[in-house]
């Protein structure tokens, strides 16, 4: 590995060698051992940017969001009128434990699917295509890992 490649990797993946592509780490360590001054300067520069980027922290999910996730669909999708389900069905839906148990038992999968389609048909179409192609995506992972560097 030469200095140019080392600099490119530091700029792309940051100043922690453990976060570099696995296939490049040994060569990077060897370059650092050969030229500690130049390599150290590049890593310190990248580490400084890493630290700055880490100042942007994402807020933790609120308890309300956690509850909504456990209970089911977004509020707009839970409107009985748009869902076309009975108040009894809605009540069951809004029961977190009931919802989870039912979904995982496959009882309300159809309701969920139709609700999503009504409330956000476009996003659901995109997502359905994604799910339909998931096997292809997984195949791509396998192909990618065979020839590409590990990250």
């Amino acid at each position: 590995m030469d200095a140019e490649r080392f600099e490119t990797l530091a700029m792309a993946y940051g100043g922690d060698l453990r976060r570099w592509p696995e296939a490049d780490r040994d060569a990077a360590e060897a370059f650092r051992a050969r030229t500690p001054g130049a390599a150290g300067a590049l890593l310190r520069q990248a580490q400084a940017l890493d630290a700055v980027l880490d100042d942007w922290r994402s807020p933790a999910p609120s308890a309300a969001l956690r509850d909504r996730v456990l209970m089911g669909p977004p509020p707009r999708a839970r409107k009985a009128g748009s869902m076309g389900i009975s108040p009894r069905g809605l009540g069951f839906w809004l029961s977190g434990a009931g919802f989870a148990a039912a979904v995982l038992a496959g009882v309300v999968v159809g309701v969920t699917a139709s609700t999503a389609a009504v409330s956000d048909a476009r996003a659901d179409a995109v997502l359905s295509a994604t799910l339909a192609n998931d096997e292809d995506a997984q195949a791509a992972f396998t192909v990618g890992s065979a020839g590409a560097r590990a990250g």
Binding site: M11, A12, D55, W56, P73, L104, V109, V126
Partner: protein, 191 residues
């Protein structure tokens, strides 16, 4: 960023938990939410820049999880990567709608100019970083979010973005070079 090839589902740290979720284990459901909701929310927040939309996306991702957990078959990609794919598609859709409806209210993002009003009001470094990342070209921002913040491997990130590892590396390097220039004052000692 996670190390190692990501296609090895035998090393998927979520596999056992997802199996328990599929079996209806209430504790596993809680655990999966605790483990993944922060990641999905952070991803959507950083991709969309809008807290409300990010919550909607995170919630919708889990809807798909509840629908798909029982059908999940280990042996392909990691479950975490699949969740990222679902979340990214939802984000793409919302970003596309924004482009198609330019009159809609833009997300409440801080102005990237250091001297602008928002920066003067808030001296927090995180606000500056958020603004700088938000100002990157979309693909560069996506690469930085996936690799730096979500800590995905280069292979996972490249697959999710539909680019080669080399192209991902280029996007990352260009994005980070811009960020280094824009945020140079924050990286100085004592800043």
């Amino acid at each position: 960023m996670a190390g190692g090839p990501t296609a090895d589902a035998g090393k998927d740290p979520d596999q056992a938990l997802v199996a328990r979720v599929a079996a209806g284990d209430a504790a596993a459901i809680q655990a999966l939410v605790a483990r993944k909701l922060p990641r999905m929310l952070a991803l959507a927040r950083r991709m969309l820049g809008d807290p409300g939309e990010a919550e909607d996306v995170a919630q919708e991702v889990f809807l798909r999880v509840w629908r798909q957990a029982g059908a999940w078959k280990p042996g392909g990609g990691k479950f975490d990567t699949w969740m990222h794919r679902v979340a990214l598609n939802l984000c793409y859709d919302r970003l596309r709608r924004r482009r198609e409806q330019p009159t809609a209210d833009p997300p409440d993002r801080p102005d990237p100019t250091p001297g602008a009003e928002h920066a003067m009001v808030s001296a927090e470094r995180g606000v500056r970083v958020e603004a700088a990342v938000a100002a990157l070209p979309e693909r560069q921002r996506e690469a930085v979010v996936l690799c730096h913040y979500q800590e995905l491997s280069n292979i996972d990130a490249a697959v999710l973005m539909g680019v080669s590892v080399e192209a991902l590396e280029s996007l990352l390097a260009r994005g980070r070079r811009t960020l280094r220039a824009v945020l140079a004052d924050l990286a100085e000692p004592g800043s």
